[in-house]
């Protein structure tokens, strides 16, 4: 934690040029997207395993808080993609470095130029969804879709007399272990490393140098760049379908249809399954390796570092398996 705090405060105090800020935003945007992706792969898998829960998940995506988050997510992906491209260009053509500051400006400009029409179209979907519905109905929607299901789970948990045993079990067996467990493990790891850093007092100061060539690190370095360039069209295409062309609200026809049939219709084509599979594997490996890189920056105690690295590997593999199983089995009965 000492070095994490030092890096944060000193990045704010050091008067670095534009590249320093691009790095901060790139890291935050990458981690933010990864957090979403973890949740997203879990809830998308419900369409195959727990279709009723999937309807709830999509309904939750349509609540105001998530609508705001959706705009932020799209901004994160667009900026991270363009900036990632810039990093890759100057990594493979270091002799062009004199243009990097200009390139960073172009990244911000391009992000802005892309986001303006995209946000306008997304806002249109939001407005469509809300217009014509009285306010009390809107609040009612939020109440019915979020408060009731979640409240129901909490009540079930504490009374031990679940209204719907299956949903309660699913909540306990899927959501808590996967989402909660992973986030808790990671938080605990970071906290632990901070404690170790504080105790050993060495954090942030130059330490001994390990000098062994790492093929793996080299391959992953290349993978981050190549996969980034492949994810770019895949993720932009996916977001275009989900946010611009159709919109999150049309996944279940504004609450009147079944989200599962939307997915079933798409997964009826093998091509879309392959597309989703490619995005699944590339984005998860890219994102979790990015997470590992971030862990390596801040966790210095060997045990903690190893623990966090394994947490990232296990988390990544588990999510790829869950996502792939969903893609293979498809939507039941559709």
């Amino acid at each position: 934690m000492t070095t994490l705090t030092t890096t944060i405060t000193e990045v704010l105090r050091y008067r670095g040029k534009i590249g320093q800020w691009s790095w901060v935003l790139h890291r935050l945007a990458g981690l933010g997207t990864l957090l979403f992706l973890v949740i997203h792969v879990i809830d998308t898998s419900w369409v195959a395993f727990f279709p009723e829960l999937y309807e709830e998940a999509i309904a939750i995506y349509q609540t105001p808080l998530f609508t705001i988050g959706e705009f932020a997510l799209v901004a994160c992906v667009v900026f991270h993609a363009f900036n990632g491209l810039r990093i890759a260009i100057f990594d493979y053509r270091p002799e062009w470095w004199r243009h990097q500051a200009r390139a960073a400006q172009i990244v911000y400009l391009a992000t802005f130029v892309v986001l303006v029409p995209v946000f306008a179209l997304m806002a249109q979907h939001v407005v469509e969804f809300y217009t014509g519905r009285p306010l009390d109905l809107q609040l009612g929607l939020v109440f019915n879709r979020v408060v009731v299901p979640f409240g129901g789970h909490v009540v079930e948990f504490y009374t031990g007399r679940p209204l719907d045993l299956q949903l309660g079990l699913v909540f306990n067996r899927v959501v808590v272990p996967f989402g909660g467990g992973m986030i808790l493990a990671l938080l605990a790891g970071v906290l632990l490393s901070g404690l170790f850093g504080a105790v050993s007092g060495r954090a942030g100061l130059a330490g001994p140098l390990l000098t062994r060539r790492s093929r793996l690190e080299q391959v992953l370095w290349g993978f981050m760049r190549v996969s980034g360039m492949l994810i770019l069209p895949l993720a932009f295409g996916h977001l275009a379908i989900m946010h611009v062309i159709q919109g999150v609200f049309s996944i279940n026809q504004g609450g009147t249809g079944l989200a599962a049939s939307f997915v079933a219709a798409r997964w009826a084509y093998l091509g879309w399954r392959i597309y989703d599979a490619a995005l699944l594997a590339l984005a998860l490996i890219h994102g979790f390796n990015g997470l590992r890189i971030v862990f390596n920056d801040y966790a210095h105690h060997p045990t903690v570092r190893r623990g966090l690295t394994w947490a990232a590997v296990v988390g990544c593999a588990a999510l790829i398996i869950v996502g792939a199983l969903a893609l293979i089995s498809g939507v039941p009965g559709m």
Binding site: K17, F90, W97, L205, A206, G207, T211
Partner: protein, 254 residues
């Protein structure tokens, strides 16, 4: 003009933590260098102020500090570059470079930095006997040109201690050591390039670099630091020989 100094002080014998102290100097000229003003503070106001300097002319690399938020050599920074034009006063904030243990005031322990420097074999390796005529090992001007830039390093640590990756993780070998390795990796007479690349291809070697570009503007010698790091990354992937050839054909082009 007047100069208002804000200096980060720390005396391990009396202070638990570093603190800021203010000093004011009169009769400061725009052409004064920050190092001279630090001397005036030390000589006229507070003899306990501790900082390193030796040559006072940007050659020895001993006085890298963070001045107004950026790493620089105190002996190379003119007051005029910190003040607005025609200003009556200037505010100058000075603190030690970050990521190395502070010994006292502006003096940091450079040993970890030099340990990383030594780790990259920063010396010429050639096991062939010298040429029969007893003269120098020959090299064409073009072969010399591809590592000219990285010969200029004075090991001031301004680049390494401007790097957020190094702040976060002091095991990262750091820009300066990579520049020093670059100087030999791209030298056609040297025979240990692959050994150096093995060292720099460790997890705490070049891969910790996130291409942030803080190091390049920090270098008082105007070395193309981030470029040198990038070239070493490519040399690891394609081999020193091929990377040298590539740099020979399109070296200086942008």
């Amino acid at each position: 003009m007047k100069a208002h100094f804000r200096i980060r002080r720390f005396n391990p014998e009396t202070n638990a933590k570093p603190y800021w102290q203010d000093f004011t100097l009169d009769n400061v000229a725009p052409a004064d260098r920050v190092l001279e003003l630090l001397h005036r503070i030390k000589w006229e106001q507070d003899g306990t102020l501790a900082f390193r300097r030796s040559c006072a002319h940007g050659v020895c690399g001993s006085d890298a500090m963070r001045i107004n938020g950026r790493n620089m050599l105190a002996c190379k920074v003119l007051v005029s570059s910190l003040a607005a034009e025609g200003a009556e006063s200037v505010t100058i904030q000075v603190e030690p470079i970050l990521g190395l243990p502070v010994i006292k005031d502006l003096i940091v322990d450079m040993e970890p930095f030099f340990a990383h420097y030594r780790a990259v074999m920063p010396y010429f390796v050639n096991n062939d006997p010298p040429p029969a005529d007893g003269r120098e090992r020959r090299q064409s001007p073009e072969e010399r040109a591809i590592f000219d830039d990285s010969t200029k390093c004075i090991l001031c640590a301004a680049c390494t201690t401007s790097c957020p990756s190094f702040w976060a993780n002091g095991s990262y070998v750091g820009p300066a050591a990579i520049v020093q390795a670059h100087r030999f990796i791209f030298d056609s007479r040297d025979q240990a390039a692959e050994q150096r690349l093995d060292i720099l291809a460790a997890p705490d070697g070049v891969w910790r670099c996130r291409t942030i570009f803080n190091c390049t503007p920090a270098c008082p010698r105007e070395i193309e630091v981030t470029r040198a790091i990038g070239e070493v990354k490519l040399a690891i992937q394609m081999g020193a020989e091929r990377m040298r050839a590539r740099k020979m054909t399109r070296g200086g082009t942008e």
